[in-house]
Symmetry: C2
Subunit: 226 residues, 2 copies
DNA sequence: AATGGTATAATTGTATACAATCAGACAGTA
DNA sequence: TACTGTCTGATTGTATACAATTATACCATT
C-alpha cells in the first residue's frame, strides 16, 4: 500500500541475478574460492541474502563462461583459470586484437578516431602524473573503442569476454610508469595505422602491442595470474 | 583434502534445462524465431511441456552467448546472427584454428596423431562413397581432436562455442563431393605438418583450410547463413 | 478528436515448496 | 575385516506462488 518500503538499492541497472553473477565471478577470479570448491546454491544465497533462484541462474551462466563446472544432480564446482590459461588468453587476444584493428581500419568513423586521439592525448598527460586510475580507465576505453570500430558484433563479444579476465592484470602492468608510456606510444602507432587505413600495419602493431604486454609482465618476473 | 577431479567430459544425460537450451538455440539458428521476436517464458514453457524455471535459465545462458538480449523486467528478445556475423565467425576461426594447429604441434600425443590418421583414412573412404553423414561426423571429430591436442582449455572453449554456429554450414559444404575430397586433403596436409612439429606450416595450412571453406561456399553462390 | 490518468491484464523477478537424486552412516552378514 | 543394502540427511531439479514491473485498454476531461 504505502510506497515507502521500496528497494533502496537504487542501482536498478543491474538485477539481483546480475549482481550475484558479478559477485561470484569476482570471487572466483580473485581466488576467494579454491579450485574445485563446491559452490552450494543455498550457502551462497544465504551469504548474499537472496534465495536460491538467482544464485542458480548465475551459476548456470558462469558454467557457460567456463568458470564453473556443473555436474547434474551433484553440484557446481569452481573451474577457475590457471596461469597458463591467462597466458593463452593473452596469446589469443594478440591475434584477435590484430584482426580487430584491421577491421577497424575498414569501418571506423571520424567520431571514433577523434575519441581515440583524445584518449591517447589524455593518457600522455596522466602518465606523466602517475594517475594510475585514469590510465587504466583510458586503456580500457581505447581497446573498447577499437572493438566497436571493428563493427563486428561477434569479435566485440569475444574480446569483451576476455576483458574481464585481463582487467586485474592491466592494473598491475600499467602501474609501471615506463610501461604506461610505452603502451601509449604503441596505442598512438596503432591509431596512426588505422587513420591511414593501413590494415596490415594496424594488425601487426596491435598484435605486437599485446605481445609486449606479456613480455613486460614476465620480464618483471611477475605472473599473469596474481 | 582430496582434489575432486571435476570432469568436464559430458557424457551426461542432458537435464531439462540443457534440452530447453539446445532447443531454443536450435530454433534461433534455424530461423524459427524472427529477429527481435519476444521470447516469453510461459509460452515456450507450455510449448515444451516444462515450467518457466528451466526456460528462464536457458534464456539467461543464451543471453551470455549473445543469441538473446534480455531487457530487465521487460522480456527476452531474439538477437540472432546475421550473414555478416557468420562471415566474421569464419574469419575469426581461420585465425584461431591456425593458432590451435600451432599449439597442437607442441602438445599432441601419439594417440591423438593415430586418431587423426584414422579419421583422414576413413574420410577418404566415405568420400568416395558419398556417405555425407559419416563425412560430417569425421570432419567434426578431426577439428575437435585438434582442439584437444592444443591442450588449451580456453582456446578449446572458444572454438567449441563457434562450432555450434558452423555446424549447419558444414553439412552443406561437405555435401559437395569435390569439396569433401579437397577438405580431406587439406586435413591430411595439416596432420603432416603437425606430425613434423612444423608449427608455422600447421598454422598456415589450418588458416587456409578455413578460408578455403569460405571461398568454396561463396563460389557456389551459397550463403554462409542459409 | 486528442490527451491524460487509472484500472486491469500480462509478464517478469524472486521466493518457496516439493520431488528426484546423491553421499555418507550404520547395522547386519559372512 | 570386508562387503552390502538400507536408511537418513543434504543438495539439486522443477514447479508453483506471490511480488514487482510493464503494457494495454478504457474512460473522463479538454
Amino acid at each position: 500500500m504505502n510506497d515507502y518500503d521500496v528497494q533502496k538499492d537504487a542501482s536498478d541497472k543491474y538485477s539481483l541475478r546480475g549482481r550475484v553473477f558479478n559477485k561470484i565471478r569476482e570471487d572466483i577470479l580473485s581466488g576467494k574460492y579454491a579450485q574445485s570448491e563446491e559452490l552450494k546454491e543455498n550457502t551462497i544465497g544465504v551469504e548474499l541474502g537472496v534465495s536460491r533462484t538467482p544464485v542458480r541462474e548465475a551459476l548456470r551462466q558462469l558454467e557457460l563462461e567456463g568458470l564453473v563446472t556443473i555436474i547434474p544432480n551433484k553440484g557446481a564446482y569452481v573451474t577457475g583459470i590457471s596461469e597458463k590459461d591467462m597466458h593463452d588468453i593473452y596469446i589469443i587476444r594478440s591475434y584477435l586484437e590484430g584482426l580487430c584493428a584491421r577491421w577497424a581500419c575498414e569501418h571506423i568513423t571520424q567520431a571514433q578516431i577523434d575519441e581515440l586521439e583524445e584518449i591517447v592525448y589524455l593518457t600522455e598527460f596522466h602518465a606523466k602524473k602517475d594517475h594510475h586510475e585514469q590510465i587504466v580507465e583510458l586503456d580500457n576505453k581505447f581497446h573498447e573503442t577499437i572493438y566497436e570500430a571493428s563493427q563486428s558484433k561477434i569479435l566485440n563479444h569475444v574480446l569483451s569476454d576476455f576483458h574481464h579476465y585481463v582487467q586485474r592484470i592491466r592494473k598491475i602492468t600499467l602501474a609501471s610508469e615506463s610501461r604506461a608510456v610505452n603502451s601509449n606510444k604503441e596505442h598512438s602507432a596503432i591509431l596512426d595505422a588505422i587513420k591511414n587505413r593501413n590494415g596490415d600495419e594496424a594488425e601487426r602493431l596491435a598484435h605486437e602491442h599485446i605481445m609486449n604486454t606479456i613480455k613486460n609482465i614476465t620480464d618483471q618476473g611477475l605472473s599473469l595470474y596474481s
